[in-house]
Symmetry: C3
Subunit: 184 residues, 3 copies
Amino acid sequence: MKYQSNNFFKMPDGFRGRSSVVVQAWWIVQSMLFATSPQFMYGWRRFLLRAFGAKIGRGVIIRPSVRITYPWKLTVGDYAWIGDDVDLYTLGEIRIGANAVVSQRSYLCTGSHDYQISSFDIYAKPIVIEDEAWVATDVFIAPGVTIGRGAVIGARSTVLEDMPAGMICVGYPAKPIKARVMKK
Amino acid sequence: MKYQSNNFFKMPDGFRGRSSVVVQAWWIVQSMLFATSPQFMYGWRRFLLRAFGAKIGRGVIIRPSVRITYPWKLTVGDYAWIGDDVDLYTLGEIRIGANAVVSQRSYLCTGSHDYQISSFDIYAKPIVIEDEAWVATDVFIAPGVTIGRGAVIGARSTVLEDMPAGMICVGYPAKPIKARVMKK
Amino acid sequence: MKYQSNNFFKMPDGFRGRSSVVVQAWWIVQSMLFATSPQFMYGWRRFLLRAFGAKIGRGVIIRPSVRITYPWKLTVGDYAWIGDDVDLYTLGEIRIGANAVVSQRSYLCTGSHDYQISSFDIYAKPIVIEDEAWVATDVFIAPGVTIGRGAVIGARSTVLEDMPAGMICVGYPAKPIKARVMKK
C-alpha cells in the first residue's frame, strides 16, 4: 500500500486567491515594511493589510511580529487585538470579531492535507473567532473551528473542534469546563 | 452582556516598573547588543542585564536568543542556565535559583488578564524556579507558579499550578508523577 | 542532597561528531547562506547540507527557515518535505524516510540530560521518521522515538514513545487512536 507520494503533489486551481505576483509582493511588503515597523505604528500596518485586501476594522491592534499568509483572506473587527508572534495561517479565511483578543504566540491554522489520498491533497477550512472572545497565549486552533462569542481559550490549549460562546475552555484537546461569569 | 471592550484598556500605574524611556532603551539594547552577541559572550550579556537592574549570579549561562521583557524584574542564581529561545516574560518578577536549568524554547509567562471584568485588566504574578530544578524544553509556566527545588518538568509540559520539590512532573496540565531518585 | 551542579558540566568526547571549526562554519553557512536563500532554491539548500555531510535524497523540499544543528547527523529520503520553522535538533542522528512529511513548526529533539546524576550529563538518542509518515504541524518528538511507516501524528501532539506504522496518533502524550484507512 502507498500512503504518500509527494512528487505528485498539486495545489487546487485558485487556492491562493491571488496571482503569484501578488503573493510574492506581499512577502516582500511583510518582511520589509510590516515586520520592521515600530510597535506604535498600528495605523501603518492596518493600511498595508487593507492595501492587500484585508478587511480591518477601526482601532485594531496588530503587532509587527504577527505573520499573515494571505491578507486578502483576513477579516478583523473593530478594536480587536492580535499579539506578538501570532501566526494567522490564512490558506483559508480567518475572521476575528470585534473586541476579540488573540494573545501572543497563538497559531490559527486553516490548512491541512487529506491523508487518506496518496497524493496528499492540501485543503483549507475557515476559522472564526467571534466577538469578545479571548484566545490566550500559545493556543493552537485547527482548520474549520469556530470560537463562540466571549469564550476564553486557556493558555497553551489545542482546539480541534468548535467551542461554545461564553465558556472557559482548556486542554489538549480543549474542552469547555465552566461558564465565563462576569463580576458585578 | 458585554464580555470585553478593548478600547477602554489601561495598564495600572507603574506596572512596568521603569519609565518608557528605560523600557525602550532596553528594547534597543536587547535587539542591537544582546541578541546579536556571539554565543560564547556570556559575561557581556550578564553585564547588559545587570546594567538594566537584573540580579544575575556568578557563572550564569544565558544564550543570545533568550528574550527578557523587563530585566529589572529578573533574578538568576549562581550557575543557572537559560537555553536558546527561552522567553522570560517578566511583566511580574521571575526568580530562577542557583544551578537551575531552563531549557530551550520554554516560556515563563507572568502576565494575564482578568477576563471577569469587561475592561479586561492586565495583571502579573511572580514565577519562581527554585534551586537545582530543571524546566525541560518547550515548557509553559503560568503566572504565579513556583517550581520546587530539584523538580524536573518534562518536555513540552504546561504548568498551571505549583509543582513540589524533588518530583518529576509532566503533562497538560503538569502533574507530579514520581520522585526524582538520584543514582549512587 | 544535591540534584544538579552545572559548573561541573561536560560534554562526552566527540559528542558533536565534528571539530569546533566545522560546527562554527556550519553556523555561519546556515545563517548567511541557508536561512537567507529564496524559498524556491531547494537545490541550493540540499547542496549546502550535503557539503556538511548530510545524506539528502532526490527532490527533497527543505524550507529556508528549517534549523539543523549538525547536518552530518541528518539523513533524508527521496521526495521528503520539511516545512517552515521545523527544528531538527540533531545532537543524535535523525533519519527521515522517503515521501515522509514533517510539517511547519515541528521539533525533533534528540538530546536530553540524565537528571539522576548531579553532573546532569547530556546524552542523545536517534529519531527515525519512517517512509510516508506525516508529522503534522507543531509536533514534539522526544529522543529515541521511531514513527512507523505511513503513521500520521496529529497537529500539536507530543510524542514520547514509538508510534506504530499506519496509525493515526494524537495527544499529550501521543497515542495511536485509529488506522490510517486510504480511500479507494
